[in-house]
Amino acid sequence: MSDRYFISDSDLRGLAADLLGAGTEVIAPVATDICQSPSAIAATACTLDHSLVDIDYRALTSADELDLDRGLPQLSLKGYFLPEHEALCSWKQKGTTIEVEEVPTEFAARVVLAAKPCDAAALEVVDKVMNWDYKDELWNGRREATTIVNLTCPMIDDSCFCTAVGTAPDDVKGADGLLTPVAGGYVYEPATDKGRALIEGNKARFSGDVEADTLGREADDERAASRRRVAANLEIDAESVRDWIDTHFEDPLLSQLAIRCNGCGACTSVCPTCHCFDIVDEQEGVGHGTRRRCWDTCQAPTFTLHASGHNPRDDQHVRYRQRINHKFAIYPLKFGEVLCTGCGRCTRVCHAGQDLVEILQAIDIAARRPGDADPAAAEPEEAAS
């Protein structure tokens, strides 16, 4: 049980300001008041319900931008550790001589404030593949340079299911400390040396007075309530699901569950744990260029296309199966972790109606009660239209 500290609302913003003032990059949720529809790009009000105001993780330019309303950023923290595109090396060519230029693998220290626990947990999950024998210096360098402070999540909506896949709305997996809202501010619990160093370097902002029976209990209650809310969304036996998928590769259930999918890959872009990437050379002038890696998606038809024209996964339901397989069977078998932290973004962003809560429910049923396996059984009663 680690120490607990109190930091007031204004001190938390002050902490952000102090860090920025010292030249430290601070990444945090920022609410963008530009709504994503043409009718609202103008200065007129956003037409969508304000609970859907867009939030993104951004590098703060001022502490005022820090959004602590605990909404879900559109994209996860993934892009800060595995950028959408990243130089691996560059080269200069003169005649037949080539000089390869290295890229830095050490990065300036930076802080993430008010991260979603599902996003931080995802980083620890992906750490496994980035280190299973070859160590990915670029990923590791960014991980080492970053202090991540989570903010206990109240649960976003009924597409959240972090507790079903081994994490929780108040987890510190992959992170260095946890803030939980209480009256007047937050209780802060450091979980690692980096989390403690944040206090050491900013003592004025934190106070050690956290009464166990008042603020302490308030924090505990808040955390427990969040966990209960999320657990109500989905409960699965992740090991049964893993084993069922591993032994039912050709099962028609997996095709039925994939039927709506367009193969757009939006799910893989917004996913905090999807890490598949492509490597491309980009000629940028005569005799010089950059080799980059960039996000790729197993949902794209060309993902597994051989130069010969042969494609082992040449239809969408087969590619969709790969996604489910990779996340809930292959990765757990190889690394002992589900490649998913239940953030629910894939379900929310899928405008074709693919619903991971429904899919996991159907597979869980198939795994535990084979006689009941029917995707329709997982759907709710038909809503009155």
Partner: protein, 276 residues
């Protein structure tokens, strides 16, 4: 330096095996690397043409030959088309060696049978030389190799060399219609020629590589001849990018071809889901 940064090699030899297949001999530009670089038969690398990208091929030379590595490829895509244009003295990038390897040491005292089709001879050639360079450690060596036509045969000089050795049984074949007037080898698809050659399965291992159809049809023939599933080895290819288990592209079910492969026994292959 990060794991994705390639080492630099210089092209020292170029052999155009067929109209669209080429072999390159590469020497590391770094002197220490030239001496120290080692690998095992069956491993592969990522070869780059800077500006075009990387492509995945096995290391086609034997680990018993020091100071250089070789690769053979068919010009079929963006990078291989560029590789077909490189000349002696040009720089080619290399990352590797990656993947697992043929357990050649386990085969001491056994007979070794090699079956290959077309460009599939490239990874097998590596093992053939590995075995021949340590010839007295092994029993009988049989090689059955076929291609569509006489022109399509790769490593033509070496086929002759192997054929002229008393301690190797070399059977070369071309598909019906692919023979030339003065062709003295077999005529027929690889699989029936393997059947005809009927290598003994007792205390033997087999290495099979080639286009999927050759592998698919040859495995049952070897099974009929008495080869156990774990005595038959093949090497699979799949689309790869990082080559070292991170980019998530080459998996066949739970098996990452770049790490758990590319060398598999027939038993392991049969356990793979139908995704390759």
């Amino acid at each position: 330096m990060n794991i994705y940064q390639p080492l630099l090699t210089t092209v020292t030899e170029v052999v155009d095996e067929t109209a669209d297949t080429r072999t390159l001999r590469l020497e590391f530009q770094d002197e220490a690397l030239r001496k120290d670089f080692s690998f095992k038969a069956g491993q592969f690398g990522e070869y780059s043409v800077f500006g075009a990208g990387e492509s995945t091929f096995c290391i086609a030379s034997s680990p018993t030959r020091e100071g250089y590595i070789e690769c053979s490829f068919k010009a079929i895509g963006k990078v291989t088309t560029e590789l077909r244009e490189v000349n002696i003295g040009d720089t080619v990038g290399f990352r590797g060696p990656y993947g697992n390897w043929f357990p050649v040491d386990d085969w001491k005292g056994k007979d070794v049978v090699f079956v290959a089709g077309g460009i599939g001879l490239a990874p097998v050639r590596c093992v053939i030389w590995n075995v021949l360079d340590r010839r007295d450690e092994f029993g009988d060596v049989t090689i059955v190799y076929g291609a569509r036509s006489v022109d399509d045969l790769v490593y033509k000089r070496e086929l002759e060399e192997w054929g002229s050795r008393a301690d190797v049984k070399m059977v070369t074949t071309v598909d019906p219609g692919g023979e030339t007037k003065d062709w003295t080898g077999e005529v027929g698809y690889v699989t029936p020629v393997v059947e005809k050659t009927a290598p003994k399965a007792d205390n033997a291992v087999a290495v099979v590589c080639g286009p999927p159809i050759v592998v698919k049809l040859t495995l049952p023939v070897l099974e009929q001849l008495g080869f156990a599933d774990d005595a038959v080895f093949t090497t699979l290819e799949n689309r790869m990018k990082c080559g070292l288990g991170k980019c998530g592209r080459c998996n066949i079910g739970p098996v990452y071809v770049c790490k758990d492969g590319p060398v598999f026994t027939a038993a392991q292959m049969k356990a793979l889901p139908a995704e390759f």
